[in-house]
């Protein structure tokens, strides 16, 4: 039974309403406890900002899509190589690093929990195998349902309970965590060379629209009492004028969960575009933020873009084809049988490119214009907007108007006429940054009940101690110190063990995979449903009995059981 005492920590823990108190934190056996006598290890955190471990609620780090990004970009593999050192394995890659690369670099920034944003259930094994080699973080996987034929059929039949039964079966089978919709209907249409422009377009082969998919999925998701809400990548990503589609989508979202949001809308920067073409492209972040401010049942993450090289990867196949036609660079396109698809394109975001500069500004505008930080999460849709190692820079930009203005000076000179950013005075506080990088994620993902995102008795001892003295640091002026301080923790603690010290990872962090298992009544148990079994064996290239991911793929894991109302 290992014990640890962190003394004199300067704690910000928004879930517990602790806003900068100096206190001791006691840990026994991986959990936070009231007190420990004669601790095995003592850390003096005097003058150091101490937060619950960081949580990324939308990132792409593991799975077939990520791996193909590695495969098709040897130039990315050559960037960011580190050799084996001490307990640390060799790593390679910058925007799509190896699993250890992801894990070490997140750990040095104080992140202890990661949600893979898009896992095709049929290819779940690969994701779980990579989770096992992401040793410093707990991992969860959003599971893709945007083009699932059984689900689309149930929606067309108006049978939401059956839809819920289908979601339940796939989530348990794939050992997934949340319901992800990527360009619902559009990815399916792409299988036939088409796309949808917004929520009211019909989908080929089914007599339904994206809007029906979104609303029915939300209803089904809540029937299963899942920890997380539906996680939506809206239709029409990345096109000028798409903000109207985003607003229409938000207007149609029902408010049906009183504990958390009913919809998590991801990488909203890519969905906040005005104009009718790239020539009059402009920011509509104000309109989007206003809509979000009016709707307490919607949580967003920003999908911030930062300048430099990266790789875009998404299940949104038609969107990646459009990017390919723009750049004529490498392109991967992938179809996943009855379920979804994907595409991958390397990109470079440039300061002197007007469109890229506007994208950068939109992400910041969203973070500054959504009033409630609990409903606006900081993320880059790693690596789509930027590799996650840029997070400290994003934090500094949000905390310092001076830094924003300085960066703005270096952009394409027409940017000012297309965005609202220069007029925004708001500078986020320490508490707000803490919310947007861990507490809001814990709440939106429903992980507070599982001891994540806070530091009181009973919580998992996932703790990030940063070499930042809050009392003597003015974030508005000392933005370099913010960047450096959030880039490398003094200590990152995972389940009560120091896993990273000043950037050097020491040992593996007893990491777990979290997955959901909704219990449904026998009538909605798809493993006994004749039509489901028949359709499965007829249309999949894999037998239903061979489909579920066995627990042996998971290693240490936490099964989150829920009682469904069906």
């Amino acid at each position: 039974m290992k014990t640890l005492l962190i003394k004199n920590a300067f704690v910000i823990d928004p879930i517990q309403h602790i806003s900068g108190e100096t206190m001791d934190i006691a840990v026994r056996n991986g959990k936070i406890v009231d007190d420990v006598k004669n601790p095995d290890e003592v850390i003096d955190a005097q003058g150091m900002l101490t937060l619950p471990g960081g949580i990324d609620s939308h990132t792409h780090i593991c799975g077939t899509k990520v791996n193909f990004g590695r495969y098709m970009s040897p130039e990315d593999m050559r960037a960011g190589r580190t050799s084996r050192k001490g307990d640390m394995h060799a790593t390679a890659g910058y925007s799509v690093p190896t699993t250890y690369g992801n894990s070490y670099r997140y750990s040095r920034m104080g992140y202890t929990t990661l949600l893979e944003g898009a896992m095709a259930p049929m290819e779940a094994r690969h994701t779980h195998e990579e989770f096992r080699y992401t040793p410093m973080q707990d991992c969860l996987a959003n599971t893709l349902f945007d083009g699932n034929w059984f689900a689309l059929q149930a929606i067309q039949d108006g049978d939401t309970k059956r839809l819920a039964g289908i979601l339940a079966w796939y989530l348990s089978a794939a050992k997934g965590f949340g319901v992800k919709l990527t360009n619902p209907g559009g990815t399916e249409a792409w299988g036939f060379g088409k796309d949808v422009s917004c929520i009211n377009d019909p989908i080929p082969n089914f007599d339904i629209t994206p809007l029906e998919i979104i609303v029915k999925m939300i209803e089904a998701n809540e029937m299963l009492n899942l920890p997380h809400s539906v996680h939506l990548h809206c239709n029409n990503l990345g096109k000028p004028g798409n903000y109207m589609c985003t607003l229409d989508t938000y207007d149609a979202i029902p408010d049906i969960n009183d504990k958390r949001q009913s919809l998590y809308s991801t990488h909203v920067q890519f969905h906040s575009y005005g104009g009718s073409s790239w020539n009059d492209f402009c920011s509509k972040a104000e309109d989007i933020a206003r809509s979000v401010n009016d709707k307490p049942h919607i949580v967003i993450d920003t999908g911030q873009v930062m300048f430099g090289k990266t790789t875009t990867m998404t299940a949104d196949g038609p969107m990646e084809f459009n990017l390919y036609r723009l750049y004529h660079n490498k392109w991967s396109n992938h179809d996943i049988e009855m379920e979804t698809g994907s595409g991958i394109i390397p990109v470079v975001y440039r300061k002197k490119n007007l469109v890229n500069a506007i994208m950068w500004a939109i992400g910041l505008e969203l973070a500054l214009l959504v009033d409630d930080p609990w409903r606006c999460i900081l993320a880059t849709d790693n690596p789509n907007g930027a590799p996650f190692v840029k997070y400290p820079e994003v934090m500094a930009l949000l905390m310092s108007k001076e830094y924003r203005d300085k960066e703005f000076e270096t952009l394409h000179k027409s940017t000012g006429r297309r965005v609202a950013l220069p007029a925004i005075e708001r500078e986020l506080t320490w508490d707000e940054i803490a919310v947007m990088t861990r507490s809001a994620q814990a709440r939106a993902l429903g992980l507070i009940d599982y001891g994540k995102g806070y530091l009181s008795e009973g919580a998992e001892a996932d703790i990030a101690i940063y070499p930042i003295d809050v009392d003597s640091t003015d974030p508005a002026r000392d933005y370099e110190r913010i960047i450096n301080g959030f880039s490398t923790t003094e200590y990152t603690i995972k389940r009560g063990e120091v896993v990273c010290r000043r950037g050097t990872c020491t040992l593996e962090g007893n990491h777990s995979t979290y997955w959901v298992k909704p219990h449904v009544s026998p009538a909605y148990d798809m493993s006994k449903d004749a039509a489901f079994i028949d359709g499965f064996n007829r249309y999949y290239s894999i037998r239903r009995a061979n489909y579920p991911v066995g627990e042996e793929y998971l290693g240490r894991n936490v099964c989150m059981e829920t009682e469904a109302s069906i």
Partner: protein, 257 residues
């Protein structure tokens, strides 16, 4: 002038590859430099693998001549990023010889394994024996292979010679395998012997085949007879799967039945 002789020692398991990217003329200019090579995940001193002899002094890479002796058929990445000087390999050489080289000469008396001169920018590689697959190509997923310089292979080449080639010249005196010049964008690929399915998705550059091209792709347009060095040869433009801006000259061609 500096002469460096690296003689591969008798090895217990000679098939285990050794990664030796430190072997370039420039690196021997620094008398203090330590040379490490890798066997799997073990880092070894160069003297664990080679007898090393150094004679004379040099001020620039151009004045350094390295000779590799003994069974070097599993020594990989020799001459990677080489930017001048000479490497003479008396026997065979392992994979990735001359990766990214920009200047100087690598001469191989025996055969070369795959990826000879991968993504090279300049300089010359002369291989007196055969070269395996992917000579002068790009790595998997790379958009551009060889961008400059010359690779001359006196024997045969394996499959995918000059894949994604984007400049420079490759001359193969024997036969080439399947799909030489696939995705070629620029530069010149010459095959004195036979090959099959040349230059799929060609978007620029030139390929000359003085033997027979088997399974010629139907997406190239026959532009009629012409002559190169008084050899009667047929000119094709293509690949029309791409923009059709490349040229293939073929002495004999056979389409798939």
């Amino acid at each position: 002038m500096m002469k460096v002789i690296l003689e591969v020692k008798e090895r217990h398991k000679p098939n285990l590859p050794i990664e030796a990217e430190c072997i370039t003329p420039k690196n021997f200019l620094d008398p203090e430099r330590e040379f490490h090579v890798w066997k799997g995940n073990k880092e070894l001193d160069i003297t664990d693998i080679f007898h090393v002899r150094k004679d004379g002094t040099a001020k620039s890479a151009e004045q350094v001549e390295i000779t590799i002796r003994g069974d070097s058929s599993h020594i990989k990445r020799v001459g990677e990023y080489m930017d001048g000087g000479k490497i003479l390999i008396e026997g065979d050489i392992g994979m990735h010889c001359g990766n990214f080289m920009s200047a100087g000469l690598i001469e191989i008396n025996g055969n070369a394994d795959s990826w000879l001169g991968r993504e090279m920018h300049g300089g010359k590689i002369l291989c007196h024996g055969d070269a395996m697959d992917y000579a002068g190509s790009g790595y998997r997923g790379e958009k551009q292979g060889m961008r400059g310089g010359l690779i001359e292979i006196m024997g045969d080449a394996g499959d995918f010679a000059g894949e994604t080639m984007a400049g420079g010249e490759i001359i193969i005196h024997g036969n080439a395998g399947d799909m030489p010049g696939v995705d070629i964008k620029d530069g010149r690929l010459t095959i004195m012997g036979d090959c099959s399915r040349p230059c799929g998705n060609m978007s620029g550059g030139e390929c000359r085949i003085f033997g027979t091209a088997y399974d010629m792709l139907p997406t190239f347009r026959n532009e009629g007879l012409t002559a190169i060095d008084s050899v009667q040869i047929t000119r094709f433009s293509g690949d029309y799967m791409s923009r059709g801006l490349g040229t293939i000259y073929v002495a004999n061609c056979k389409y798939m039945d």
